[in-house]
Symmetry: D4
Subunit: 220 residues, 8 copies
């Protein structure tokens, strides 16, 4: 696909409170370079998601230098992140080590749009005391993003513990009956805890956007 | 199942900000009566959901009288609803006539826990101008609950229009490829609009609980 | 189907340590009566499962009288249960009220074959402290049967807490994304807790048979 | 598979109004070369679809030279395209950048068989005003091919706006709940707009063939 | 659901060329009566689909009398059908006897909106000569609606024979691997015949609307 | 996996009338070499299936030389094929070019075990006259193996034409709604033609074994 | 659906060796009566399948009397069965009691078209010795129809034991993971025994038709 | 993902009787090295699972040397295995050659935690006598791990033969209708043998953990 087909939505920030992000999966290096050139021309800031290390490294030197890239989350900032309040209003809770990249995508998205988040990892329910030790801490956040694959049992436990908004991000971690994240997704939707909300599999970016909407909702 | 097996969670309100609701589907009249007796003893208020008109009418006279029942939403209030602010902070937008019962479950749940909601019906995207006419009105709400079956296209259109939180409630309306709500569910999760969150099929109650969490998140 | 087609397996007890059970779903009253007559002739004891109250009541008087029937579990004993040790070696833990019939099927099966079980209900993880309060008690059992529908998160929490054998029985409780028990089944199989084993949806009988095999395995 | 197994349908054009196309996915360079040799012998014109750039480049020099190849759509013309009327009767509307290759397959197919098409890109419903701005323009076409992945909400919006024939081409764009195009496919079939028709996932070629049938239907 | 929730789309005819139809499945007698009263007030004509004989008979006398009802197709006309040209431009071809109700829904819809159709039944491909005998006749129509369940093989055979537009309507006829019409749907979409288009399972109404769009496309 | 784990079933021929075949998919070159060594020691003949050209070429020289290898069908004979009657009793009918490798696997299997087959290719139903021209020829065979992917419509047409046994082999040819052969499989099972039998997707070997059983059944 | 739509295929017997059967599921009493009247006029014999006892009893007296009805298999003969050889060439092997109705449909179909079958019931593999005791007897048949639900393990065991043709009929017996017969179907198709063939779920009629084709194949 | 995110659960052994295992799939060489360094510091022993030969060979020399690696099972021991009783109490029974890696994962896990197992291979039910010959031997074990793909018929046969605990491990062996192990999984869950328990597809590790729980259950 040639890069002329790409038309960015420069007005999203005004409309929704956060700008368009460039989803890089399935785009080649030339296309990404063209997008960044368009953005540079207009002085626009952009978040890039799902940018593989290989693609990042293949970008022209000056573009690599212009990007603040993070390999774990596969995100890059073109332009600087907004200033964020010191006090995090969002907790990102990941069940296991393999869920960290998705949690990191959420954290980096929040940070770019001006919110900081507290990261709490390795609190999967197979060792429930690890989670219980941190329950009081987690309860204080207005929004809790729960990142979990396989059975996603963490989602329900948090949903029953926490009075804030719980956003479940099912991940594609696991094999066999985990079905590429479908089981975590269905379990999150069928959760016995009331008022848990869910985004797509591995969609850390979407969970962060939802958190941004929620935090804004409380302020007007 | 005998009614002694039922143990209510009287502390949920303190913990999460809204009390336990009694999901009546699959419970018989005797069980519902026992629950209400337990609640009456403790002076507890309760929301009942999925209470069929047949089951409602089969309850003992004095219990029928004690309940504020609504046949469309299949909900009943045992005890009076909390006072609600005049100004609705939540809009409940339903795509078609058949989505109304689910929308009504959300509205009744919000009302019981002290929030009023604005209802906007029959704005399915097959006649997009109906929705566009009301776009400015809908944009003002902090939370928008989008209730839609079949293709759930309403969810994505709202997600791109509205800066507030958009909670999708896919419904089981439709036949064939609608697959009992699975298509609306998947389409909502795969929405091209960023930061839309989703609850289970036909789960108007869950969407309302999420809205309660969100409105509370903004206040502490 | 005429009853002459039915051939019972009177030697199962010798072979496996527990006799054949009669699965009554899809059998009519005449067939069940014929089976009981065959059994009576040989002086055999039998467990009947999935026997609806309607079918039970439609049986000839003398057969009703000969059966020890339990409506919650839909089981009946033809012949008396084996003597059971006072001390239960199996705990049956049910997440919610709607899971009780399946839990009861497991309990009645164990009791018929000479094992008593402790029943622990309404400890779903949406209120995790209810489960944590009873953790020490549950840890003492050699076998824990975990009965849960929807997200089946209880299974993983127990699997990480308990050193004994955890047998998950996913139930068909729930709607929408619960998919008639498929989500609970997949979540149990994909559990992050090591060494949890799983039986079919709603299969309280099978879980009890597995427990019988396990308890026997420890004794020879 | 050796190339002798291949038997082309040289009479399709007489029968259906458009000739057989060579679907190159899963065929190797030798097979494609043999097919082109057969065609050349008979002086036949052919459309090739799903021809990867790698395979195209691996063809013998003289064949590369004989083909009018387009990398975006992965199509090639062997022989020249029919003359097309200046005035396009078909609009090809693509929701997002990633849908462009499928849209291009449709456009190139139409062009080969003598129809020109207007391309309208990046009008996904997450920014509904982009579509509304061009509504009057789109309404004028006799056939509108709507190319969209993920939730395919564009299909329903167009189906309700446009009096012409709307052919939905669901695409495999997206991840997780997009399920490789299955969600876009089901949403298109379950569309709330009446009289929308659907072809297989990513089947730009099929949509173009349908358009050719439709345009011909109007002329006899 | 109370009837006040229902808002009809009286402008659809102007916009799309055919008016809104009332899908009666899941609506009760009171709701249907209210809709007809609204329509009567405005002097509007309406098509009713999926109207069961039981519901039809339960309508008030004067409404029954006002409707032109057909039990096979479960459709009713409120107001008279448009005049139709004598010469049918659409053929409706049904594979087997059980597909006739869906075919009849298509025929009645076309007739209401001013098109007549030729019905060709019992030409399933298991007796291919029955179809071949009528091939020349079928080829003459501009639009062929192919109604078939189970394997839907009729769709592909027609798609290869007929130069006109072939609209497949998969039906829910069959059992087991027919999966309620899903197999016929998938087979129609995966058809080896080029340019076949597909509507939802059992959607005779939708196929007719598509045909109306197509016939109109040819005229402007 | 080391090769000592492999235990061949040298008695299958005596029991079933055809020997064990070595399914090479997922076996490495060392394992295949070990198997052939075992077979050589016992003077056994063996059929190898799913043997990729790459693996074949990587075998030790003397083994390559000892094998009669066919790249289209990915089969090899170790030891010579049984003598076959000149007159073929089985027809192998393939819908399209891409189905040929599966058809060839069936043909080579039959040949190894002493049956010859007639191959009839490119008779997919999208050009039904191609099939009809050969109908009389095909009707004469006792067994017809129908190899088809996508919609597998060929299966039903043959099932209604041919009095002999029709064995459907659905293939994984196609994309999108073809679902890797699942649609062809379901369509074959739901065929409207009576008495068609089906084997697994791409299982040309299994269809040939079934044909061997059938031909033998007629002789004792 | 009115009965005039029904067109019987009176020539099937000449073509395939067995006449058309009337599949009564979804047909009402009036339609069945009309069919029988058509058949009577032409002096045709017919098999009726899936005829519920309720529908049978609702037929006019004289038609009930004219039919040889069997409630277990839900089949009826209109006209007398062909004469059958005393010696059965087909064995019908059913895994459990609940599979008997499907087995009976196969037996009655064979009998009507002139073949007798041996019935072997209750040989499910959970008690493998029951099957092993009868292995020698079963091996003698040219065709073995294996009727089994749930895991359908019987199919593979027979496929490895028996040199004749093994036709698997998966049944819808079971619950939960049995998925209405889908598991038995998939397991039969994925069987480790070579050359097993499969028909649709619960399709006893289809298995019998396949057996008729096979027995005929041996004779010409 | 950087290695600092990894937090090991060093207390699992005390809690459950067996330590945490490192699931290496999806971890890179650097991460595995970091984990081993952490473990070495604390003097901890660890089991590594799903460690590809490529990854193993890429580890630093001294770590390779410190590991007891097995390529078939893809497991490694860091630290020495516990002493095991000579007498095996667990039998691991594999249906076919391709199931051996999963069986080996179970065996190696048991061995690391102090249990020896007897391995019985190539006893798939397509040659049932191979299994019957060893039935008496298998019956003596307290726990039988049944490893089988495709139709998993071995599970049911063992479940009916063996009085001990039967743990089914469905494998992803097979193609087409085997659906990557889903069919073996469903067939094991729907098994007609009572009291069989099931773990996730290819989960040899999980089956071994379950066996450890069971053997321990018998001793306290």
């Amino acid at each position: 696909m040639s890069a002329d087909h790409i038309r960015l939505d420069f007005e999203r920030e005004a409309r929704l409170g956060f700008g368009e992000a460039i989803y890089c999966a399935g785009k080649n290096v030339a296309q990404i370079a063209t997008i960044l050139a368009q953005a540079a021309e207009r002085g626009a800031r952009f978040l890039l998601t799902r940018l593989d290390e290989t693609n990042f490294n293949a970008l022209p030197r000056h573009l690599c230098a212009a990007l603040d890239y993070d390999a774990v989350s596969r995100t890059a900032y073109f332009g600087s992140a907004k200033e964020a309040p010191e006090q995090a209003r969002v907790a990102i809770v990941a069940a296991g080590t393999s869920d960290v990249p998705v949690a990191a995508e959420a954290a980096r998205t929040l940070r770019f749009y001006g919110q900081s988040a507290a990261n709490i990892n390795d609190v999967g329910v197979a060792g429930i005391w690890r989670l219980m030790e941190r329950a009081e801490e987690i309860k204080k956040f207005q929004v809790v993003i729960a990142v979990a694959g396989m059975d996603a049992a963490l989602v329900s436990v948090l949903g029953g513990l926490v009075p804030g908004v719980v956003i479940a991000v099912p991940t594609s971690v696991g094999y066999g009956a985990a079905r590429g994240g479908e089981t975590a997704l269905a379990a999150s939707l069928a959760s016995c805890a009331p008022g848990v909300v869910v985004v797509n599999i591995d969609n850390g970016y979407g969970a962060a956007c939802a958190a941004l909407r929620i935090l804004r909702a409380g302020t007007h």
